[in-house]
């Protein structure tokens, strides 16, 4: 465990308190949460590693600027309730962010302790607080009188939920329209139970409903109502679009329509949203073969691979066209995946799928890649190596090569400016080209993170509030 090296000046505990986890050999076959969270003692020990810097670097790494040292200090003092309040001043979904934020790229990347050892585990402390709060009874804070203004939020993902919470707190009447039958966006249909239990998302949503937000499920805006209709006929004074990047991409290689080839979205929606892992108790089926191949290297690929393993696949192999260094998934999740026995095949990409007589995939032909000069994303571009094709057996393929914005809103809202990638154009406060219409999250940035979507929801809520109060 933590050792103390004699160092001049502040005595720094170099190693962070590890988070208890389910053992790899157990967890690879169940959908229970992998990381179990800190106990009170562990949280106190970790909080004590913080140096309470006078000029804290961590805050600049946090997209919503949580006052990190302040809440850590409150933990040390055992004032958990006040600590939660401190976090919630800036972040209304801490139980979620504590679990899925890429802290290693954000706050923890800047933490000064990280220069000599492990950075302070800010995310785990945030999670500890949120979980502690859930164990007691939460009162929703609504601190402003009703304004009589009405705002429509489209999409119940992190961007929409955050904007809704902030606007409700400011006294506006808020209605969320969500196309799916459950709220949460990627948090319910994408990120699996073992990384983010659905009960947590439900608790956060319940909290937002307690603030007085009305949740309308099964409303596809653009079809059931359009944005101009909401503003003109349904009595809304402003609209926030948080519809995410929900459109799956395919590779366009021969054989892609064979049975057993899923987009990651289809696979994850079946498993997470429709609970296919409990088929036939739940009605939506999924079929997982013995040899599963996942194409891609992001969080979506990791989640798909780890879910496939839990559904009983004998072998799961991730095929990624770049090398390990370029894997875009969170480090922690890559390690988790490898511990569970998932194999990674780097520098390869599929060229063709081969089917059996029944129309199911039975093999995949790949070509080897090498890394050329960097492309526009700054990562080195993979270049196919001529004549290096090889064939691997597989009976289930999950394509996780990226998702693009949902086009339904854009195509049914005249005058809404969009980019050539289909994302919505906004100013830095989320204002679109249409009066009273704001947007934020993946629909504006393309695929990004939970916390950046929340940050965008917050900014837009502030701008919408200003707009409504002037109107």
């Amino acid at each position: 465990m933590a050792e103390n090296k004699p160092k001049p000046k502040p005595k720094i505990q170099k190693e962070s308190v590890p988070i208890p986890k389910q053992k790899p050999e157990e967890r690879r076959r169940n959908f229970n949460e992998v990381a179990l969270g800190y106990t009170e003692e562990q949280a106190l020990a970790e909080a004590n590693r913080c140096l309470q810097c006078p000029k804290p670097q961590c805050i600049q790494g946090c997209p919503v600027e949580i006052e990190i040292p302040a809440f850590i200090k409150l933990i040390r003092e055992g004032k958990f309730e006040e600590a939660v309040k401190k976090v919630k001043e800036k972040n209304s979904l801490p139980a979620i962010c504590g679990r899925v934020c890429p802290q290693e790229e954000q706050c923890q990347k800047f933490c000064i302790v990280g220069k000599v050892g492990d950075p302070v585990s800010i995310g785990r402390l945030e999670r500890f607080l949120a979980d502690w709060e859930r164990s007691i009874d939460v009162k929703a804070l609504r601190d402003a009188p009703a304004t009589g203004k009405k705002v429509a939020i489209i999409g119940a993902g992190p961007a929409g939920l955050t904007a809704a919470a902030d606007l409700a707190r400011l006294g506006h009447k808020v209605v969320i329209f969500e196309a799916l039958h459950l709220p949460g966006g990627v948090l319910v249909y994408g990120i699996p139970e073992f990384r983010l239990p659905k009960s947590i998302v439900r608790a956060e949503v319940d909290y937002i409903v307690k603030l007085g937000v009305e949740l309308k499920l099964g409303y596809l805006i653009g079809r059931t109502f359009t944005i101009p209709e909401l503003l003109k006929y349904k009595g809304f004074d402003a609209v926030f679009i948080g519809t995410g990047a929900g459109l799956p991409q395919f590779m366009g290689v021969p054989g892609e329509n064979l049975g057993g080839i899923y987009s990651a979205n289809e696979f994850l929606i079946r498993v997470n949203l429709m609970k296919s892992y409990a088929f036939p108790a739940y009605d939506t089926p999924i079929r997982i073969g013995k040899h599963v191949v996942v194409i891609g290297g992001g969080n979506v690929a990791m989640d798909s691979a780890r879910s496939a393993l839990r559904l009983g696949a004998e072998q799961v192999c991730i095929v990624y066209r770049r090398s390990r260094d370029e894997l875009p998934a969170r480090k922690e999740e890559i390690e988790n995946a490898e511990e569970e026995g998932i194999i990674c095949k780097f520098l390869a990409a599929p060229t063709r799928f081969i089917g059996d007589e029944k129309g199911w995939v039975k093999a995949m032909e790949c070509i080897c890649m090498e890394l050329g000069p960097p492309d526009e994303s700054g990562r080195r571009r993979p270049v196919p190596v001529k004549g290096s094709e090889f064939v691997m057996d597989t009976d289930t393929v999950i394509v996780a090569i990226g998702r693009t914005p949902n086009p339904i809103i854009q195509s049914t809202t005249a005058g809404l400016e969009v980019t050539k990638w289909g994302t919505i154009v906004t100013d830095e406060n989320g204002k679109t080209s249409l009066e009273g219409v704001y947007a934020g999250g993946d629909i504006v940035t393309g695929e990004a993170t939970v916390i950046s979507a929340m940050g965008a929801g917050k900014k837009a809520a502030k701008a919408i509030h200003e707009y409504l109060m002037k109107k």
């Binding site: 196309a179 799916l180 039958h181 249909y189 499920l217 099964g218 409303y219 596809l220 079809r223 059931t224 109502f225 929900g246 459109l247 799956p248 395919f250 366009g252 892609e256 329509n257 049975g259 899923y262 987009s263 979205n265 289809e266 929606i269 079946r270 429709m274 609970k275 088929f279 036939p280 108790a281 739940y282 009605d283 939506t284 089926p285 079929r287 129309g359 949902n406 086009p407 339904i408």
Partner: protein, 279 residues
Amino acid sequence: MYKILTNKELAPKIRLFEVYAPEVAEKTLPGQFIILIIGETGERIPLTIAGYDHKKGTIKFVFNEVGKTTKQLGLMKEGEYIETITGPLGNPSEIKNFGKVLCVGGGVMIAPMFLQVQALQKTGNKVTTVVGARIKDLLFFEDEMKVYSDKVYVATDDGSKGYKGLDFLKDLLFKEKFDRCVVMGPVVMMKAVSEMTKPFGIPTVVTLTPIMVDGMGMCGVCRVMVAGKMKFGCVDGPEFDGHAVDFDGLIKRQRLFLPEERLSSLLWEKLGGCSCGGK
């Protein structure tokens, strides 16, 4: 929650539902569909809207009891509630004055075809309608169709009523000139009719029913190849050019989950066909 106002048997295992869903009804146009979920453990199933009443705030759909969800739905009583109905989904049909239109409806899809026939007739088209089914007992809406069509033909697979099979259409196409053909029904039927109209160069629209999950462009399970390009049935369709669709690919993809569907249905029946609505 969406209240069931009518549950009526049109033919053996074919039921018509009328449901109170004012916000869906408000926007519905012919050619669109809904996704419904019976209850918490239910799957999302797509059904074509076969009627709507903007004033009453209701929609109608007609379905075949083929598997677990549709059988379970069929058992639900008037006054009970369906948990979620999302819609209207998909692009509405192109309805304008084309001139002379041949409408071919098969099986359960005769019901939504009736909506098309009405709309086409009202926009000034001369409509010739064909209603087809496996056997005579499964036919319905023949009289309703007559009200809005210049001529109605009947066909059955076994010849128990009207023409035997659809081969008579070839003669009809030789005799009469049509400006457009609309086909809704089983994939094999849509394929056969599209092949017949192709040599005559009659623009032919088919309504595709691939397997769907979300029905709004998120999962890609509904992908079909049309003129060599990948299209999503739910958002790019459900109507496509019958002369460009890869029907054989569609047929294969529709059967992907056959063993699981059978299992689900069988288990449910073995357990006495629970009527708890998924609670």
